[in-house]
Amino acid sequence: MENITSAIRIIPLEHYLFLCLALFSIGVIGVLFRRNTIVILMCIEMMLNSVNLLLAAFSSYRSDPSGQVFVFFIMVVAAAEVAVGLSILVMMKRNVDSIDINLLNKLKD
C-alpha cells in the first residue's frame, strides 16, 4: 500500500488533474457528438473512469482511504448502468434494427 501511494505521488497532482479533465472532456464531447450508440456508452464509461482515476490520485495525496472506497462504489454502479444501457440498446436494435442515434427522432414538438 505504501509503495503504491508513493508511486502515485511521483507524478505531481496537477498532471493527474489535467489528464482526468482531458479524458472527461473527450467523454462529454463523444456523448454529445457521436452517432453510434455503442460509442456513446463507451464515452460514458470513460467519463466515469476518469473520475475514478482522479479520486484515486486525490485519495493517495491526502492519505485518506475514503476516496478509494468511493471508487469501488463508482465501479459497481457503472457496471449496473452499462448493463441496463446495453439492454436498452438490444431492445432498440430488435425494434428498429439499427443502433444509429439519428433514428431516435419520433418524439418532437
Binding site: F72, M75, V76, V82, A83, L86
Partner: protein, 116 residues
C-alpha cells in the same frame, strides 16, 4: 552453466527439423489444387466468413456475468478489514452474499440461465 549443451540442443533441433522438411520437399509427390487452400482439408466445406455475429442469447449471460463479477469487488475492501472487525464483518458479508444469491435465484427462476 553448460551453455554448450544448450547451443548444441538448438543446433540439433534446427538440423533435424529443417532436414526433414527439405528432405520431404524432394521425396514427397506434390499436387496443387484449390481444395488444398481450404481451412478444413478433411472435407467439411466452409459456410461463411469467420466474422459472424453471435446469437443474442449470449448477451444475457454476458450481462448477468458482468454484474456478478463486478459485485465481487466489494469483497476486497472487506478482506482488508475483516480481521479487525471480527464477527460483525462476517455476518455483514453473509447478508451481502444472501442478497446476491437472491438476485441469481431470480434470474434462474425467470429462465435467464437456460441455454437457447
Amino acid at each position: 552453466m553448460n551453455s554448450e549443451y544448450l547451443i548444441l540442443f538448438f543446433l540439433l533441433g534446427v538440423i533435424l527439423v529443417g532436414g526433414a522438411i527439405v528432405f520431404s520437399m524432394f521425396v514427397a509427390p506434390s499436387s496443387k489444387n484449390s481444395a488444398k487452400s481450404e481451412p478444413y482439408e478433411c472435407g467439411i466445406p466452409v459456410k461463411s466468413d469467420a466474422w459472424i455475429q453471435f446469437n443474442v442469447g449470449y448477451y444475457l449471460f454476458a450481462i448477468i456475468y458482468l454484474i456478478f463479477d463486478v459485485e465481487t469487488v466489494f469483497i476486497f475492501p472487506w478482506g482488508v478489514v475483516m480481521r479487525d472487525m471480527g464477527l460483525t464483518a462476517f455476518i455483514e458479508i453473509l447478508v451481502f452474499f444472501f442478497i446476491l444469491v437472491l438476485g441469481l435465484l431470480y434470474a434462474w427462476k425467470k429462465g435467464a440461465l437456460r441455454w437457447v
